[in-house]
């Protein structure tokens, strides 16, 4: 488990601010950056995986029932999936609304 960045003192950084605990970017939840959330209409989804392919943050994964779903811990709400979906089943919904 990586320590939160705002708790690390300068003396505790690895040399050159290197990170030797690999894969710990998983613990950095970038989902808080999001203002729009992708919502999939599962009745329209054809499970083609185009959204998964285009997601620039690799935040989309296949669910057990075969649909593709964004992991909201990491999805920044860029909307590329909604734009690229060939059947238009993804809509971007205001987080606050």
């Amino acid at each position: 488990m990586a320590r939160p960045m705002d708790e690390i003192k300068w003396q505790e950084l690895e040399i050159g601010a290197a990170v030797s605990e690999t894969g710990n970017s998983r613990e950095y939840k970038t989902g808080t950056w999001r203002s729009l959330r992708p919502v999939v209409d599962k009745t329209q989804c054809i499970s083609c995986g185009v959204c998964w392919l285009f997601c620039p943050d690799a935040a989309i994964a296949r669910s057990e029932e075969g649909h593709f779903q964004a992991d909201l811990d990491y999805c920044k709400g860029c909307g590329i999936c909604a734009r690229e979906c060939p059947v238009g089943c993804i809509s971007m919904v205001n987080e606050e609304g």
Partner: protein
């Protein structure tokens, strides 16, 4: 130990030193007046005298990138550049120090365009003054040869792990044939042992270098860099002391000449120190109590050593070979003034900018600068700077 003294072009002596230090990776792009250094290194590699990778690249940006990549896996790396090449390299220059990669670079100092000029001054190095590297200035061919080993030794020290720039005046040093004492390979091996990097990039133990730094961590990362550079100071001094034990040649962060009882001292950096010494000898013969203070270590700046050298002086006359447009004059004077600010009995500081883009600064010029500077100090004219020898 065997020691050979020979007349050699300083660029070639630097290249020979890099070879003696058993460098692993050399990457560079030719630019005047640095070219002879890497040209000779490419010969040493091609002729089988040096077992190293010589990577010719399409730009200085790539040269420093190759050096960073090689240094990240623990290779001993070297490059060399000047002026516009350094400008093109600037982005990766800062990254080398932020990743704490001990790349060694011979920086053959040259003016920056424009007007276009290939000649020597310190404008290029001042551009990267704040780049987090250790900066040393050499005065002659022997200094240049010696400091190649010193640079690897200091930069690779586990307590330091920083890149080192060896500043040597373009043409005045790079293209001059000088007598240089060569140490034997055994001596060099003892001084620069095989480099073993702690935590290199390696597939068996994955590591991320150069990660994104959010506002929450950037300040801490910068403080770590600052502390590494400041903390390198005792290592720099110790490495010089050990070199003196091996070779009998002594170096210090601040070096002085006829300075102990001097009332006025001229402050220089680089090859002009020797000309200043000749001028001081002449002035001493005429009864003037003058001396020379030479700044060898530019970063980390030796504040305490400078204050000590300045003790008891009426004025320091600082010669700068670069100008900070719209700023305080020369960058060296700025540092000297900062070092002395609010110190009791601090000497006055008179600043001259001279020797830009290869314009000669002769013994006579130094004599005028020292005497004129002395008069300025006496008259209280210590603000700003004077452009020496400017037609106006």
């Amino acid at each position: 130990m065997a020691r050979e003294r020979k007349g050699i072009e300083v660029s070639l002596a630097v290249a020979e030193a890099v070879g003696q230090a058993d460098c692993d990776v050399i990457s560079a792009y030719p630019i005047t007046p640095q070219t002879h250094i890497v040209e000779h290194l490419s010969e040493l590699v091609a002729d089988g005298h040096l077992d190293a990778e010589f990577v010719p690249v399409e730009s200085e940006h790539s040269a420093m990138s190759v050096c960073c990549g090689a240094a990240a896996v623990g290779a001993r790396t070297f490059t060399s550049t000047s002026s516009q090449g350094l400008a093109l390299m600037a982005e990766i220059f800062f990254i080398a120090s932020s990743l704490r990669l001990p790349v060694v670079m011979a920086l053959a100092n040259r003016s920056l365009s424009g007007p276009l000029s290939i000649w020597n001054d310190h404008t290029d190095t001042m551009m990267v003054r704040d780049g987090g590297w250790i900066h040393v200035f050499v005065e002659n061919g022997q200094d240049a040869y010696d400091h190649v080993f010193w640079a690897f030794r200091v930069g690779e020290d586990p307590a330091v792990r920083l890149p080192v720039a060896i500043n040597l005046d373009g043409f005045i040093l790079t293209h001059m044939i000088e007598p240089v004492e060569f140490e034997d390979d055994e001596t060099i091996k003892r001084y620069v042992p095989e480099y073993r990097m702690e935590k290199p990039l390696h597939p068996d133990k994955p590591l991320s270098m150069g990660c994104f730094g959010m506002p929450e961590i950037y300040s801490e990362a910068q403080m770590a860099r600052e502390q590494a550079l400041v903390g390198s100071f005792p290592v720099c001094v110790k490495a010089w002391e050990e070199w003196a034990e091996l070779t009998g040649r002594h170096y210090r962060p601040i070096e002085t000449y006829r300075n102990d009882d001097a009332e006025y001292a001229i402050v220089t950096m680089g090859s002009l120190g020797e000309t200043a010494m000749a001028a001081v000898d002449e002035l001493r013969d005429r009864g003037e109590k003058v001396g020379v203070i030479k700044i060898r270590l530019w970063r980390p700046f030796p504040f305490e050593d400078l204050r000590k050298a300045a003790e008891g002086k009426k004025a320091l006359i600082v010669l700068d070979r670069a100008i900070s447009f719209g700023g305080p004059g020369g960058p060296v004077a700025l540092e000297v003034r900062s070092a002395l600010y609010k110190r009791p009995q601090a000497p006055a500081v008179v600043n001259y900018v001279a020797g830009l883009a290869g314009r000669d600064v002769s013994v006579e010029d130094f004599r005028s600068i020292i005497l004129e500077g002395k008069a300025k100090a006496a008259g209280g004219e210590t603000e700003g700077y004077t452009f020496y020898g400017l037609r106006a």
